[in-house]
Symmetry: C2
Subunit: 462 residues, 2 copies
Amino acid sequence: MPNPGPSPVVLESDVVVVGAGLSGLTAAREVRRAGREVVVLEADDRVGGRILTEEWAPGVHLELGAQWIGDTHHRMSALAAELGIVVHDQFEEGDTSYELGGRVLRGDAFHRAHGEDVAAVERVLRELDAMAATVDAAAPWAAPQADIWDRITVGQWYDAQGLSPLARELLEICTVGILAVPTVEVSLLGLLFNVVTCGVTADLLSESEGGAQTKRFVGGTAQIPQRLAAELGHRVVLDSPVQEITVAGEAVTVRCRGGLIARGRQVIVALAPTLAGRILYDPPLPAVRDQLTQRMPQASAHKSFLVYDEPFWRDQGLNGQLISEAGPARMTNDSCMADGGPGIILAFLEGESARVEGRWPAERRHDALRAEMARHFGPRAGRPEAIVEGSWADKPWIRGCYNANPGPCGWLHFGSALATPVGPIKWAGTETAVAWSGYMEGAIDAGVRAAGEALESLDGLG
Amino acid sequence: MPNPGPSPVVLESDVVVVGAGLSGLTAAREVRRAGREVVVLEADDRVGGRILTEEWAPGVHLELGAQWIGDTHHRMSALAAELGIVVHDQFEEGDTSYELGGRVLRGDAFHRAHGEDVAAVERVLRELDAMAATVDAAAPWAAPQADIWDRITVGQWYDAQGLSPLARELLEICTVGILAVPTVEVSLLGLLFNVVTCGVTADLLSESEGGAQTKRFVGGTAQIPQRLAAELGHRVVLDSPVQEITVAGEAVTVRCRGGLIARGRQVIVALAPTLAGRILYDPPLPAVRDQLTQRMPQASAHKSFLVYDEPFWRDQGLNGQLISEAGPARMTNDSCMADGGPGIILAFLEGESARVEGRWPAERRHDALRAEMARHFGPRAGRPEAIVEGSWADKPWIRGCYNANPGPCGWLHFGSALATPVGPIKWAGTETAVAWSGYMEGAIDAGVRAAGEALESLDGLG
C-alpha cells in the first residue's frame, strides 16, 4: 500500500481570484482595498497572463504580449502612474509601406495610386461607426438590429460593400489586426461590440491621437502585473492551475492541481471564457453559460521581433510600419526602446498568418520574414541580428491571443451569460469588459466590476 | 492539522479509455478482444453518453438521446444483433403536416400548393450532393474548393440559392434537424463533411429506405451501452470525471476527480472535442489541437415527448410528423413503441428553438407545444397525458447534442488535429468518425479506429 500523501494545504480568504493576469490582479487589489482578504491562484509560474515582457538584452524589452495603451485608456494611465511606471510615445514619424495590388509603395505614392480605395475603406468604417453607435456594450444582443447583424459574418458584410479587391484586402488586414482571426469567423455584431467598447473605429485602428496604440511602457508592460503582485505578496500563489470550484452554502472551495485548496465566500474567475470553461464546477453551471464558453475561442496571434543594430528605416523617412497582402507579416511596427538602442521591427502574424506561416518551421518563416522586410525597408532589413518570437496558442495557460469573439449567433443566444455572476462566482477578464474589451484597459474595467460584485455580495452575507 | 486522506486507488491496464459512451465502450471492447487490459473511466453515474433511455412506464421507453439507426448503419445493426437487441421499423405511414407560409397543410395539399418550392429545395440538395462528392471525409480541408467552402456559412450559401422564403425556411428546418444549430453557425464545408460521411443528402434527411432514421431498438437504445458495459464488468468505473492526463516516457497516468488514478501505456479519449479540451494534459497538447477544441461547440438540442393514451393520429392518416416555421417544435416524429401502448409524439427543439423556447419556463413551453400539436393533429393532440423532456446542454458531462461542427475556417485551419493521435493519446467519439460522423454508427467507427491505433502502438512497444 502506498504511503499516504502530504495533507493538502488550505488557504482561507474572503475572495478567491482565479488567474493572476491584469484583470485578476486588479480585482484582488480592489478586494484588499475594501479590507477583505484575498488569495490569487495562478496556473503559470509567472503573473501577467497575456502580458509578457522579455528582456532580450539589458534595457531592451520585447513585448511578446500586450504592448500599447491608447489615449483614452484612462484606467491604465492612472494605474501606471500610481505604480511609478513611465510611458513613452509610439514612434510614428515617416511613411508606412504598402504591399497591395502586387507592388510595394510607400506613403504618399500609395495614397496617390489608391486614394479611391482608401476613401472607400473610410466610408465602410464610418458605416461601422454608425451601426456601432446603436449597440450597447453591456448588452449587444439587445441592439435594434442584433438579430440581423449577429447572423452574418464580418467578412460576408465586407464582401457586400462593393469594395475593390484592393480595398477589401486593406480592410481585411486592418480588421484582422484587431480580431486576430479571419473576418469570416466573427459576426458583424461581434465586430460592432469591439468598436463600441473602444469608441469608434478610428480609435481602434489608429496609432495617432485617440487611438488604441499610442503609448508604451518604459521598462516593459510586465512591470505592471509584477508590481501589483508584489503589493499582494504571499496572497499570489503561482503554479496552481485551478481544476475545480465547489459552492456549498456560503462556502466556495477552489481546488488546484497538486492538491492546494483555497476557501472563501466569493470567487472571481479572471480567465478568458474558453479557459474558464475548462474548470469543473460543482454544482454545474447553467447550460447557457457552459455553451457560451464553448463558443468564444481564443484568437490566433504570433509576434516576431526582428532586431537590428539601429533603426535605420527612420533615416529613410519610414516609420517601420507596413501593410502587406503577401506576408508573412500583414502589419509591422517600430518597437524600439524610448531611449535608443537597437532597431526593432515587430512583425504581426495574426489570424490566418498565425495559423499558416506561424506553424512553419522557424527557419522557413524567418527566411520569409527577412525577404518581406527587405522588400519594404531595403536590403539591410533582410539581415536582422536576431528574430525573437512568441505564439500565444502554444502557451498552455493562455491558448490564444489577443482575445475571444463568438461566431454568428453567439452574442444573440449566449451573450447574456458572459458577465452575469452565478451565485458567488463572478467573471472577470478583458472579454467581460464594457470599456475597451480585449485590451489591458478592459482587463482593469472587468476586474474592478467583478471585485465590486464580490464585495457587494460579501456585504450582503455580513 | 487535518488527517491525511485515504491513499489513492490506482488501476493498472494497457489502455485507459476516457468516456463510457458508445465510442469509448466500443474501443474498450476492441482492446479486450485483442487480449489487452482496459479500464474505462466515466464521469457520469451511468454509461451511454448521448444515449439515454427513460422507461416512462413498464415497457414504454423514451429515447432522450440517440434513437434511430439507418439502413446503411451496418456496424450498429451488427452490434445490436450480436447483443441480442431487436430493431423495429420507424412508423411512417400517412401524411406529414406542414406549417409554412402562414398556414397548416397536410401531405398532398402542401405538395400541390408548394410543389415548386419543394422542387427547388431538391435541386439545392442535389447541388450539395455534387459538392460533397468532392470532399474526402478523412480530410475535408483538402477538398479542391475547401478554401472557398470553409469561408462561407451554410446559411449564407443557402441565401444565395435564389429560393423563395418558404423554400428557404423548409431547407433551414431540415438542415437544423441535422446540425442542431442555426445554419449560419456552420461552414458550408462543415455541412458537406456531414453529408459525405453519411452518403448523400437523401440518406441524411430521409426517414424512408436508405435514410438515417429508419429503425429503432425494442426496449430502448440504452441497452446497447449497458450490455457492452456488462461485458466489461469491473473495468468500467463510474463517477470518475477525468481531470488530467500525464504522459511520461511509455507511461500514461489518468487522474480523476476524487483521487482515482488509472495507469496504462495508451489512452483513448472518447469525448466530444470540447469536453476533451477541458482535460489538463501534461505535457500540453499542440496549439493546433487545443485551438481546435475551442472551435467545435456542442450543438443545442432539446427533446419533448408528448404522451397520449393512443396514437390517434394514425387513424386520421397522419404519420405524426410535422414541419413547422412557427414552433416551438420545428419537427416531430411518431415515437410509439413497436407493440402498441400509448401514443407518443416526439417534438424536436433544435438550434435556435432549443435556445429560445427550450429556455422558457416549462409551463410556457408546454402550453406552446400543446397548441402546436393541436394545430397539426387536432384538439385531442392538445391534451397529452404527460410531457417528458430532456435538454442536453443541461447535462454536465455532455453539454450539448447532437454533435459538434466548427464554424468558418475550422476545418481548414484546425481539422487535421481532430483525429490525429498525440503520442499515446488517441481520439475517439463520433465527431472523429469518417463514416456517419455525429451518429451512433460514427461512434463505433471512431471507437474501432482509435482502438486499432492504440493496439498498434502497444504492439510497437512490445
